[in-house]
Amino acid sequence: MEDKILNEKESLELISKMIQNTQNKLESGEGKPFLIFGYISVIISIAVYALLVTTNNQFANLLWWAIPLLGGLFMYMFGRRKDKYAKTYIDRIINTVWGVIGTVMILVSFSAFIIHSFPMVSLMLLLSGIATTLTGLIIKYIPIVICGICGTLTCALPFIFIGYEQVLIFTVAVFIMMVIPGHILNYKGRKSNV
């Protein structure tokens, strides 16, 4: 592209082409936040389960707080784009959805200190499932919507499985609604960049 004068038809074609090229294109690395929070949640939940089973000490539940702490740290370290980037309006909407739901999750976690009977696992699965489903709907990508809905439905399971097994349900559900979508998004991003 140069600094040359275009005729009117060429101008309209250029505008249309540039807008199409810029929008609706997933870049590689879009799944990074899903993978960072997904894998951290899986590892922490397995650690919590192991500690609960072996020690039967409820203080093991404090380890859940490592998810937002490590997630935030890893996002700061690896989540930022180092190569070329453009922030679209869709990015802002998705960031807002996760920002609101993430804040609600942290507030709900605090309330568990006061109300011990709070169905924490169910609520966390419901909230993160909603966020994943909304992300899929916003980017109009059905596989992510399906992962989100499957994750959301698992919020009923902790009412059936009482006890430490709830933690393992959380592990599997997070794998379905965070880790799998993260890999799908990265794969799609890499493919669309080829």
């Binding site: 592209m1 275009l6 180092k82």
Partner: protein, 96 residues
């Protein structure tokens, strides 16, 4: 009656840059370079012209030790772009 086309936007590279920036919230220099396939020097000159006209806002920052130039369109730029498209329509006899 034909409307006058804004000469600042009626150039291939400047119009390309404005078309990118109208579709995103912000874009960095490398993104613009990739989408326009123009040279670094040429893009810098055009960004400066658009910035001087108040059509875009250019912010220079750092990512680690590397500099990053981020550009975003201003309300004045959005209005000028919309006006330019309206003027184009009058040339091409497109009913709005």
């Amino acid at each position: 009656m034909f409307k006058e086309l804004n000469p600042l936007l009626h150039s291939e590279l400047r119009l390309g840059i404005m078309s990118i920036l109208i579709s995103v919230e912000e874009a960095d220099f490398l993104f613009i370079k990739e989408k326009t396939s123009a040279s670094v020097g040429n893009i810098s000159v055009q960004l400066e012209k658009l910035s001087s006209a108040g059509y875009i806002q250019v912010e220079k920052g750092f990512i680690g030790k590397r500099t990053r130039t981020v550009c975003k369109i201003t309300p004045k730029g959005t209005a000028a772009f919309a006006e330019y498209v309206e003027a184009l329509k009058s040339y091409l006899e497109i009913k709005s």
